[in-house]
Each structure stands twice: as C-alpha cells, then as structure tokens.
C-alpha cells in the first residue's frame, strides 16, 4: 500500500514536470500559429515580393501601400551601426576583464556591466533623447538629432552587457593550460591573448556577438524614442529611420482590426520572428560547437 502511494506520487510529479516542459514549446507554437494565421492574410492583397521589397509604407492611404523595405533597412542600419560600435568595445572589455584587470577592478567592472543590463530600455531611450540626440544634432549640424546613428549608439549600450558577459565567460573557460603553454614558449601576454585565447574562445565570442545583435534587433522602446520614426529608405546613418519593431509598437494601437494594415503588422511580426530565430539558431550552433 505504502509502495503504491509512493508510485502514484512519483507518477504525478513526473507528469507535472512533463507538462511544464511541454508548455514552453506549446506556447511558442501557439504564438507562431497565431502570427502566421493573421500575418499571411495580408498576402491576399499584396504579393510577398511586393510586401518585402516595396519601397513605400503608407498603410493608411487609399489604397494602402504596404512595402516594408524601408523598415527592414531601418532595422538593419540601426543594428549594423550598433554592432560596429558594441562588438569591438564589448570584446575588448571582455578581454580586459578576463585577462588583464586586477581582481578588485574586475569585480567592480563586472557589477557595473550587470547594472547596465538592468537599466530599463525606456529609461535609456529617455536619457538618449535628452542628451544624445541634441549632441548628434549639434556635432553633425543636422536639422534633427533623431537619427539612425543616435539609435545605434543607444542600442550599442544595450548590446554590450550581453556581449561582454558571454564573451568573458568564453575566455574564462579556455583551459588555463593553453595560456601557460603559450607563455612558456616565450609569448608575451598580448601574443597569448591574440593568438591563443581569442581563437580558442572564438565560437563563444561569436555566440556572444550574435546574442547581442539579437537583443538589438528586437529592441523597441529606445529606438522608437530616438530614431525619428520616418519610414523612408535611409541614404546615410545621419537620417531618421523607422525600424520593424517601432512600426508595430506605434501603429498597432490605432489600426482597424481586420484591415489590410492590421494583417501587415502581423506579417512584420513574422519577419522579425524569422530574423531573430535565425540569429538565435546561429548563436546556438556556435555555442554547441564549443562543446
């Protein structure tokens, strides 16, 4: 009897855990189905090609023009700019923390970076709006400081904590023997870092960069506040742009449910989903290669 009770308990716990495990996958699938169902309807009125590569986004004109190329380019431009700023600084910072910094400085820097990750994006956006935007405006003599560049700089700050902490982790987990082996051959500290530690940690570092970029491309609040939100194809990084995420966030509140515009916003969601899925899978591939 006693034994039976135990078995029943065991059974219940096991199934409960199973359900919890399945729930996460279940929700992802549900979200995807919902996105797909709503989003694909837009292709009844616009061809997928025209949707992805159409040059104008005038969703409330008559008839609506639903080309998201300016939005895709806006997202890519801001992301690229953020990556160019945050990747070198982030990796250098990780190398400094993992290899060069004395113990005390290391701890201070690490908690500083964790703190940076803890700042809500709306606060960063707000600070960017009152400090960075006027600065960009006056330095480049622009009519407005709400540009892709401002967005890139702001987002670089948001990508950095991810890049630094994962890259630092990758560097730290390089076997200590490698370092000693290189030093014992007469390599300088920098040669050891550059030729042994960085290559040995490279897959982890690539994963760090991908996850950082993933964070940037999905970011909404800060970019909406400081990139200017004009849906035109940008010629330079000093022009206002509008990203995929900001478009959804800004327009979803006012759209007529069931209209083409409404479905188009869902289709943008699909595009975003595909992009961040691809980035995450790439990051995962590199992380697993490491093991």
């Amino acid at each position: 009897m006693q034994l039976n009770m135990r078995k029943v308990k065991e059974f219940i716990v096991e199934k409960l855990i199973l359900i919890c495990g399945l729930a996460s996958i279940f929700f992802v699938i549900l979200i995807f189905i919902f996105l797909a169902k709503e989003g694909i309807s837009v292709f009844k009125s616009v061809s997928p090609f025209k949707f992805l590569f159409g040059k104008s986004w005038y969703p409330i004109s008559e008839p609506p023009q639903l080309g998201i190329l300016p939005l895709i380019l806006g997202s890519l431009l801001v992301t690229l700019g953020a990556a160019i700023i945050s990747v070198p600084i982030g990796i250098a910072c990780a190398v400094y923390i993992a290899e060069v910094a004395p113990q005390k400085v290391k701890e201070i820097l690490k908690s500083g970076i964790e703190l940076l990750a803890a700042i809500p994006s709306v606060v960063l956006g707000f600070i960017g709006m009152v400090t960075l935007v006027p600065w960009v405006k006056s330095v480049f003599h622009l009519p407005t400081g709400l540009t892709a560049l401002s967005g890139s700089i702001m987002l670089a700050f948001m990508a950095m904590p991810t890049i630094v902490s994962i890259a630092e982790d990758a560097l730290y987990s390089v076997p200590k023997n490698y370092k000693e082996g290189a030093l014992a051959l007469g390599a300088t500290h920098w040669q050891t870092i550059y030729r042994v530690l960085l290559p040995a940690a490279s897959s982890g570092i690539v994963a760090a960069v991908m996850l950082g970029i993933g964070r940037v491309i999905g970011e909404t609040m800060a970019v909406m506040m400081i990139t200017g939100n004009s849906a035109v194809i940008p010629n330079t990084i000093l022009q206002p742009v509008r990203t995929l995420t900001a478009t959804i966030a800004a327009e979803m509140g006012e759209v007529v449910v069931g209209s083409e515009h409404y479905f188009a916003l869902f289709a943008i969601g699909i595009v975003l989903f595909v992009i961040s899925f691809a980035i995450n899978v790439t990051a995962d591939l590199f992380l697993h290669k490491r093991k």
Partner: protein
Amino acid sequence: MSKFRIVNLNVWFGGVHSLREVNLEVQANEILSVIGPSNSGKTTFIRMLNRLNELQLNFRMAGDLNLDSVSINKIDVEELRRRVGMVFALPLPLPLSIFDNVAYGPRMQGVINKNKLKEIVESCLKQAYLWDEVKDRLDISAFKLSGGQQQRLCIARTLAVEPEVILFDEPCSGLDPISTAKVEEAMLKLKQRYTIVLVTNNVKQAARVGDRTAFFLNGELIEVDQTDKIFTAPGDQRTDDYISGKFG
C-alpha cells in the same frame, strides 16, 4: 659549468611556505631528475626556473636564482621563457595543425620565410623522434595524434624556440610504457645539446635517464647527488625510504 645556480630560494603562496632554503646547481648538458612525493615542492621548483609561478595569486619569493650567472629577475621574462622551454604534464597541443604547432614559436618571433619554417619544423620533429610518424600528414590537426605523439609534438614545439634549457614537468604521467620509452629516448638524445630538468613521479624513470637526482620533501631539498649514488647508497634515510617505496 653550472647553468642554473639557486641560492637560499624560498617560495610562498599566500601563507603556505612551498619551498624552504633550496640551494642547488644545475650543470650544463646534464639531466637533473627531481623526485619527491606530491606536495614536496618539485613542480613549484621547476616553475621557478621559467618564472611561471608569477602567474599565481599571492606568490612571494626570496633568494637568488641565476641563469648563466645573471639573476633571472633581471632577464626579460619572455626572453627567459624562450631560453628555458617547458614541456607540461598533459600534452598540450594548440588547436592547430601539426606543422603550425611547431612553427608557432618561430612565427611568434617573426620568422615568416616558408622554407626556413619547413626546415625548423623538420629538424625539431626529428629531434623529438616524431618525424617518421607524421611527415606525410603535417597539415592534420594535432588533436588527431595519440597521447604519446602529442607529447613528442610538444617537445618539438619547445625545441623550435631554440631554448638552452628544457624543463619537463612529469612528461610521461599520462603515457603508456612504450610512449614513455620513446620520450625518454628523445630526452637522452637532447641532453647533448640542451640542459634538462626532469620532474617525475616515476622513481624508475629518474634512475633510467637522470645524471643526477634531487630529492624533495615538504618543500625542502633533502639531497642531490649522482643518480647511481642516490639509488644505491643515499645519504639520508628519508631518501632511502622514498625510493624503496616505504612512503610516497
């Protein structure tokens, strides 16, 4: 001629006194075997000779350590480590091809001429008794080699930097007897051109290859003498107990 002259060497890691008042000379072109149980300070001792201990936290030392009559603290540390090469307990190939592993050191010193590099790689692999086994597949990853081959590759890599002294830190601890024999053969051959300090847990290995043998216990150098003498008529009872297997 003495290569290393060590006078009153003391080493601490934090509060732990790891080496006490060690006085020792290493002669040029000899193999000095260093034996002793674990925690006896023998690894700390050879890692002093290329200043690798400095990487540890809370390291402190006192005493003199001279290489060719110059204090090693006065020699540029990278220069010292080029002159005093080291082979580690675990074979430690870099994640590169066989060729690139051996060429790593010379390249770091700025040798870029392809033919010159090929020459260096061939001669070093020959000296490490590995050439015949790998000459047709120099471009495969070093990880594809067996443990014994990897260890000889590491010896070749150390040789490529043209050191004067080679430190072996338990080089055969992970190897089978046949691979061990090959590494020992390489060491005996290398003695003609290099000075060798060999730390080993294998007392018989010390007897086979060492010209002189030093016995460490609890951070102290108990005695150092010709290998024959240590193994037949040691001056200290503790040495006798250790080599006859009463403890350790």
